[in-house]
């Protein structure tokens, strides 16, 4: 078998097209093609023979592990040319090897967050065309046309972080269309979307491709939405290449092929998995949880996501929370689960939830707030299953994962363990067998397949035997096999008297749980801000500008700062001016130069669109740093003059106090100009200037920029991880060592998510042609007269500060 060698794309030094070149649909042919990922025992695909005609619309289906995504990635030219991967046979696009034809293809993946590369809508659509070296003047017409084709009517500088999941996917599609690809590849483009989002994105895809005529290959699990939109369905089987193919009508009609697809977990149109009858249906007359006039919010500072909710949950009851995206369903679920504090109103755990059997013993009457329970108490009463299973994995093996909640379960009010080791082993064995995970007991939870992860995350919560189970979109993206297993598992829990609350769009799933429905009324949302959460649910909420919490770090300037004088200046000129102004302060420790620069900077506040209040909000850490530096020096500096404070080991005297103040003022004055200027600096503008004017390698500059865009998302993911881990029994209280361990685990969890997202983002960028030696820039970095003026002002300020210090006789070189 020949080793696949990476062929570098031809250097595209040539500026392409004037924008009028029509789309040429691409044809695909595979002959004996195979691919083996590094470190896998089996090839992902082997001996694939396939022909797809130009302009054809093809749906790829098959069980997980059949190599569908691998094929799409290969066609997109983004399979990693890693040392240990190996390919065989040939895979051609219009007669060229696929990885040499990358500029002919566009790829869309399922996670909306990593389909967006840039911070503004216009830049994001232009990104792929820039990489293909399309002339700058031809790019903007393409951007407008592509946004029109996907029906996104938004200003070009609209922040991409404020889009819903469905809008992000349509934006990604627009970016692909702007590249004028002959082949559009779609890897489960609607798997992470709610039903409305699915239709929205499906229609955009179908309409725009009908217009462009490009060939389309799509991988999807839920076929109902796509059956009418494709010409041919190709079924792949693990290790067997193409198992069968035909029109949707032929394959989905009752018969052996349909049955085989059903057995493989494919969501064939019109099929709902069969369930065994329940043995003990219906809620008992035993209340577990009661909410009255409840308002919920993710953080203390934002407007409530939902208000005036009244809810009652009884043992054995199924309850589905439904409603449009952004209506606060997930926030409500987190609050009911004791993971978020109530904004107002009450969530009361009833006596039966505090102590099983309490109601029948007649000892009732006592109620408690779940939010106040320790993590170890919470897990034995309310179990919350997050949408992303990986958020809740806290150990290194499947077995430990199942035992964790049991080991950490505590009796109310005490530190006594609830279960002995033998009992824990017995229970874990039982769960392993029940879920068919026995052969994986020593595996790392993160390495399981998607369906296995989902089952494990439900099982870990169930293992602690909570009386109330809360799940957020448990069936999202699951194949029909996992769906059925989940439904059966939860039906058994219901039969045993456990109550189940599910946030879900899945009506079939609600029916399987015999659930009553609590419809969240969008009208009950008091402040109508921008849509709160894309199809994310308990996954991190979008960084929508209107909902971003003041406590979340952000590197994007707000609208006022961006339109300010500094906001319109060249970032490099701003930085150079700051360096010129503050260099004297770095060289000298003296009060005069520091005071001059600090005061002058404060006078510049309006130019950055800042008022004193907003400045203090940004600058208070600098004040703290300055005070700390002052304290340090005052404490240890050379004493002279009267002793003001005697601490035994050190003293503060008049002399050391003065030098302390000078030190603190210097630290403050060096930082302030940079803070003012950077608060008005858009990272995108900075990157453009660094790559175009400072001539830094654009691959690194734009790669770094794309990574930084994930900052807000990761900060929210940190908060989500904290809640998800509390729901597993990881406490945020305890000794310093316990806290450190909990923090270390949470840091690992964040890094895993960060690297997974980064890897997907890299695929997106590569599929958009990023990484070549040359590219064009739709937005030119400019150096205007005001930038020259800014430089001169910086230089003058530095000179004045120096001269004043020398004249006053305070100039005092720190290296002297």
């Amino acid at each position: 078998m020949t080793r696949h060698l990476h062929t570098p794309p031809p250097a595209a030094a040539r500026i392409r097209g004037d924008g009028s070149d029509p789309v040429r649909p691409a044809a695909i042919s595979a002959r004996g093609w195979g691919w083996q990922h590094a470190g896998r025992e089996q090839p992902a695909l082997l001996g694939l023979d396939l022909d797809i005609a130009a302009g054809e619309r093809v749906l790829l289906v098959g069980p997980s592990g059949a190599g569908k995504s691998t094929l799409l990635h290969a066609l997109a030219g983004v399979l990693q040319d890693d040392e240990d991967n190996a390919s065989s046979g040939e895979l051609l696009i219009d007669g060229q090897p696929a990885d040499a034809a990358a500029s002919r293809t566009g790829l869309m993946q399922q996670d909306p967050e990593t389909q967006v590369v840039q911070a503004r809508v216009g830049d994001d659509v232009a990104f792929g065309a820039e990489n293909l070296c399309v002339q700058a003047s031809a790019i903007w017409p393409r951007v407008a046309e592509s946004l029109g084709a996907v029906g996104l009517d938004l200003p070009l500088d609209h922040p991409t972080s404020a889009l819903s999941g469905g809008q992000k996917q349509r934006l990604a599609l627009a970016g692909i269309l702007a590249m004028r690809p002959g082949l559009v590849l779609l890897d489960e483009p609607t798997a992470n979307l709610d039903p409305d989002g699915v239709v929205e994105v499906r229609d955009a895809i179908v309409d725009s491709l009908a217009h462009s005529g490009a060939t389309m290959v799509i991988v999807e699990h839920r076929l109902a939405a796509w059956a009418d939109a494709v010409d041919r369905v190709i079924v792949l089987e693990p290790g067997a290449g193409v198992a069968c193919q035909g029109t949707p009508a032929e394959l989905f009609a009752p018969g052996p092929i349909r049955n085989r697809l059903i057995d493989a977990g494919v969501w064939v149109p019109g099929h709902t998995p069969e369930l065994v009858p329940r043995r003990n249906a219906g809620p008992r007359a035993v209340p577990l949880l009661q909410a009255r006039d409840l308002s919920v919010a993710r953080t203390p500072r934002v407007a409530p996501a939902l208000s005036h909710a009244d809810l009652d949950v009884a043992a054995g009851q199924g309850l589905c929370i439904t409603g449009p995206n952004g209506s606060g369903k997930s926030t409500l679920a987190l609050t009911l689960g004791g993971l978020l504090p109530e904004r107002s109103g009450t969530v009361d755990a009833q006596p039966e939830l505090l102590e099983p059997g309490a109601t029948s013993h007649g000892t009732g009457g006592r109620v408690e707030r779940p939010f106040l329970w320790r993590a170890g108490e919470l897990v034995t009463r309310i179990g919350t299953v997050f949408q992303e299973p990986e958020h809740q994995f806290v150990t290194a093996t499947v077995r430990d994962e199942l035992a964790y909640g049991l080991r950490h379960a505590r009796r109310a009010g005490g530190n006594e363990r609830l279960h002995g080791d033998e009992e824990i082993d017995r229970r874990v064995d039982g769960v392993l067998d029940r879920l068919g995970l026995r052969h994986l007991e020593e595996a790392n939870p993160f390495t399981l397949s998607g369906g296995e992860k989902r089952r494990l995350s439900v099982a870990t919560v169930l293992a602690a035997r909570p009386r109330l189970l809360i799940l957020d979109e448990p069936t999202f993206g699951q194949d029909a096999i996992t769906w059925r297993e989940l439904a059966l598992l939860l039906r058994e829990e219901l039969d045993d008297g456990v109550a189940v609350i599910a946030v879900t769009h899945d009506t079939a799933f609600a029916a399987a749980l015999d659930a009553t429905t609590y419809a969240v009324d969008p009208a009950s949302r008091p402040a109508a801000g921008p849509s709160e959460v894309p199809a994310g649910g308990m996954a991190p909420a979008s960084t929508a500008a209107g909902t971003a919490d003041a406590g979340t770090p952000t590197i994007e300037p707000d609208a006022r700062a961006r339109s300010s004088f500094f906001g319109r200046c060249n970032p490099l000129a701003k930085l150079a001016a700051v360096v010129l102004a503050t260099t004297p302060l770095i060289a000298s420790l003296d009060v005069v130069s520091s005071t001059i620069v600090a005061l002058a900077s404060v006078l510049f506040l309006p130019l950055a669109g800042l008022n004193p209040g907003r400045f203090l909000l940004r600058a208070w850490p600098l004040l703290v740093a300055g005070l700390f530096a002052a304290w340090g020096t005052a404490l240890v500096g050379n004493d002279s003059g009267a002793v003001l404070l005697d601490l035994g080991v050190a003293t503060i005297s008049e002399g050391s106090l003065v030098s302390g103040l000078a030190t603190g003022l210097r630290v403050f004055a060096v930082a302030v100009p940079a803070v003012i200027v950077l608060s008005s600096t858009d990272p995108t503008d900075l990157a453009n200037a660094l790559a175009q004017q400072a001539r830094l390698p654009h691959r690194f500059v734009l790669g770094a920029l794309a990574g930084m865009r994930l900052l807000g998302l990761l900060a929210e993911e940190w908060t989500t991880l904290g809640m998800a881990r509390r729901a597993r029994g990881v406490g945020a209280q305890g000794s310093v060592l316990q806290r450190l361990r909990a923090n270390a685990g949470q840091s690992l969890g964040l890094m895993v998510q960060a690297i997974r997202r980064a890897s997907r983002l890299a695929v997106t960028m590569e599929a958009k042609g990023f990484g070549g030696r040359h590219r064009t820039w739709a937005r030119q970095a400019t150096f205007a007269r005001r930038d020259a003026g800014l430089l001169a002002a910086g230089l003058a300020l530095g000179a004045v500060a120096t001269a004043a210090a020398v004249a006053a006789g305070t100039w005092n070189l720190v290296w002297g």
Binding site: A629, G632, A754
Partner: protein
């Protein structure tokens, strides 16, 4: 399938897009972790107030991206790049060191970079990681105490104490911490697209 061939140096030393984006996100995520820890680390403030140079004991958090980036990406310049991105992120968030944080990032990144370059970007064992953490701490400490001279009134001994504290912090938090985190990440399969994907199977003192 085919037998494994020795890797051409060009592949080994060339940055792919995934290397660049992951490196940058490592720096960003480190920033988020530091931001989150900020609220808890004030527990240690009393210690620093009594002996101010000891504040450098926490500086290892800032040195963390350099070593972690090198261990995960395993390409020339990874330590430098990660530390630079971390510095840019912190300056955009509003760093207390102004623009000088960019220079600090460069200097600290160089410390770790020198060590892994000395081992020809081939050895990623625990001792290499500790050494990289140590040197990045020494570089950072010298930069703070002597180049930018943030504490002109400290005695020479106190400045050296500051450098020593930062070195210890680099050794423990950046050196040991990054090494342990890389192995834990490798076990989760998150590194599967990267040169460090088998880090967990490598010998600690290989």
């Amino acid at each position: 399938m085919n037998t494994k061939l020795t890797t051409a140096p060009s592949v080994r030393y060339t940055w792919r897009i995934v290397d660049i984006v992951v490196a940058s996100v490592i720096a960003v995520a480190s920033g988020v972790i530091f931001w989150a820890w900020n609220t808890t680390h004030h527990l240690l403030d009393f210690l620093f107030l009594a002996f101010p140079p000891s504040s450098a004991l926490l500086a290892g958090m800032w040195l963390f991206p350099a070593v972690l980036g090198a261990l995960i990406i395993r390409k020339p310049g990874a330590a430098l790049f990660c530390e630079m991105v971390a510095a840019v992120v912190s300056s955009l968030l509003g760093s207390e060191y102004g623009w000088t944080v960019w220079v600090s990032g460069l200097v600290q990144g160089l410390g770790a970079e020198l060590v892994v370059a000395l081992f020809l970007y081939r050895h990623w064992s625990l001792p290499v990681s500790l050494l990289a953490g140590l040197l990045t701490g020494v570089f950072g400490g010298v930069n703070d105490a002597f180049v930018f001279a943030w504490f002109p009134e400290y005695t020479a001994a106190m400045k050296l104490a500051y450098v020593a504290c930062m070195a210890v912090s680099g050794l423990v938090i950046a050196g040991l911490g990054s090494w342990a985190l890389t192995r834990a990440l490798s076990r989760t399969g998150a590194l599967s697209a990267l040169a460090s994907k088998r880090a967990a199977q490598e010998r600690a003192f290989g």
